[in-house]
């Protein structure tokens, strides 16, 4: 309140002399992406020095951490928008396993055409997302509890169904079943192969020097995984920052009651965000299943937390109302680079978790500080 006290005898001029002009640095500081940008620079510098000559930054190396980062990005987009809307979803990891098994059950075990299996899986997963959202919105319970319940429910089903029907929890044969399927192709094709052939022929990237693929470039194209990640990030970013619906997402997470009073359909927004998270998890599952050629009931464990960490590193507030899809994408990039970078730098990979914990703490402290600046409480 002391901030608001009238200045004794202060003139009521046009510009308020008690509001300091915001410096350029400070303005930059309140961008949600700041943490992510700083982190990306730090991480690249670090591994540039530590693992610069290990092949981490060769075409193959880039493709390696690029794909890992892209995986994180896909689920981070959904988690980010949901967190901005003031909720979060702990069932993402279970949903990934569930969707993978669902595709395998319908497409391989029950022999439906792969594109039908994919569509059915999307329908089921989006419905589960909607149910998550509906329960949260209707009961007013914290999404933490509701989605924790679904973490177990989904994982249980994911193991139960293939175990009962097929007596196993890993189902292969997906590659053969998806052969020539148009819908499976959008999750599992390498784009712009000609470009890499050209790059290989001109000695810009390496080619295989022996074996059955001798002479072919080491990278056969841009995997759909990366395309999906980039497309989802761009769409998510535009929706969140540029559209009316995006404004409603911020409003729903910032103060649901205030948003309702001006006519924002808060419940609908939140349910749609839960469905978006489910959609991203299902995309992740599709890409993974078609890449590996198999589905396993234990896929996706801990992914929900990795998504949340990427989002928080990206500058979103756990309490909602503030965040950035671009930031979350940078968070995912940091994730991928560090996870693979430790491998390239020949560091014990268990240290990855130590690093995660530390960077998470840093990010949360930074975010809390930024929040104080935005809301003017110092």
């Amino acid at each position: 309140m002391s901030d608001n006290a009238p200045a004794a005898g202060g003139p009521d001029a046009n510009s308020d002399e008690r509001v300091k002009e915001m410096g350029g640095l400070r303005k930059w500081l309140i961008r949600p992406e700041l943490g992510g940008i700083v982190g990306v620079i730090a991480v690249f510098t670090f591994f540039g020095i530590l693992a610069g000559d290990s092949g981490m930054f060769s075409a193959q190396g880039i493709m390696n951490w690029g794909q890992i980062s892209a995986q994180f990005m896909i689920i981070a987009v959904g988690a980010c928008m949901l967190m901005v809307a003031g909720e979060f979803d702990l069932s993402v990891g279970s949903m990934i396993g569930f969707a993978g098994i669902s595709i395998a059950m319908f497409g391989v075990v029950w022999g439906l055409p792969m594109w039908i299996a994919i569509l059915i899986t999307f329908a089921i997963c989006l419905s589960i997302g909607a149910i998550n959202g509906f329960i949260v919105v209707r009961t007013g319970l914290p999404s933490f509890i509701v989605t924790l319940a679904f973490l177990f429910i989904l994982r249980g089903f994911t193991i139960f169904v293939p175990q009962t029907v097929e007596n196993r929890t890993i189902i292969g044969g997906i590659e053969e079943a998806a052969e020539g399927d148009w819908l499976a192709a959008i999750f599992n094709t390498d784009l712009a192969g000609w470009l890499f052939v050209w790059l290989g022929n001109n000695g810009i990237i390496d080619t295989f020097s022996r074996g059955s693929r001798e002479g072919e470039p080491v990278i056969s194209g841009i995997p759909m995984l990366i395309v999906w990640a980039i497309v989802l990030v761009i769409i998510g970013h535009i929706i969140l920052t540029r559209t009316r619906f995006g404004n409603w997402i911020f409003a729903a997470g910032g103060d649901a009651q205030a948003a309702r009073y001006v006519g924002v359909p808060v419940d609908r927004v939140k349910i749609i965000m839960f469905m978006t998270t489910a959609f991203c998890a299902t995309v992740f599952a599709c890409v993974q299943v078609f890449e590996f050629g198999s589905a396993a009931a234990d896929r996706g464990i801990l992914k929900e937390f990795e998504a949340i960490i990427a989002v928080v590193i990206g500058g979103a507030l756990l309490t909602g109302g503030y965040g950035s899809v671009m930031g979350a994408a940078l968070g995912a990039l940091i994730f991928g680079v560090v996870q693979q970078g430790l491998f390239f730098a020949d560091v014990e990979s268990s240290l990855f978790r130590v690093f995660l914990g530390i960077i998470l703490l840093f990010a949360v402290v930074l975010n809390t500080y930024i929040r104080r600046i935005i809301t003017g409480e110092r």
Binding site: N247, A259, Y261, G263, V264, R371, I374, G376
Partner: protein, 259 residues
Amino acid sequence: MTEPIVKMIDIKKHFGPVIALNGVSFDVKPGECHCLLGDNGAGKSTFIKTMSGVHKPTSGQIMFEGKEMSFNSPRDSMEAGIATVYQDLAMISLMSVTRNFWMGREPVKRVGPFKLIDFDMANSTTMAEMKKMGINLRSPDQAVGTLSGGERQTVAIARAVYFGAKVLILDEPTSALGVRQTANVLATVDRVRKSGIGVVFITHNVRHALAVGDRFTVLNRGKTLGTAVRGEITPEELQDMMAGGQEMAKLEGSLGGTV
């Protein structure tokens, strides 16, 4: 004599066994500021929530511009032209002034197949409207959290006025504010009233009410105790009506002045 825009006749509202409102009648005319006074628990909030469509009255009529209306949601009353500014729920502090100003009614323009928010238009309109209310923003991207309490109320009022409110309900807009900010908000109320909008001003501060009010209605225990016109009532009488008279007089005697 001008016709009232909103007329609430014998409104009753029960919450289960609790009788929150027991026959309240109230009206507001264009260009007047009608103050609704009452102590905590008198039913002020319930009453304005029926007016703004949050609650449906158990019985009673709501007449809007001479026609009977039934509001099912805040959106209904908003569309009819009744805007409500809530004391602490007016704004979302993490969002920019522009985003708050347009929240729920964002202007969009087509860009190819997409409908994007027209930020150029939204920003310049926000700046202009705030200037009219006497607030100079540093920038329209400024988060509402950086504004003072009085400025936030003013943004909310400016928003309601811009979107064509015919009736503006202000729920204790001054109760959390300092002296100077209160004066600013009261000046804004006065400006809004002069533009022909009917203002319903809820407060339990008699001095704030007397500063801008044209008529005063006192609510006590879910009932109207009566309506007085400006100049016909003294602050002391108003205070007595609100607090139930006798005991208050005693208390004030021991405190040495009007509370």
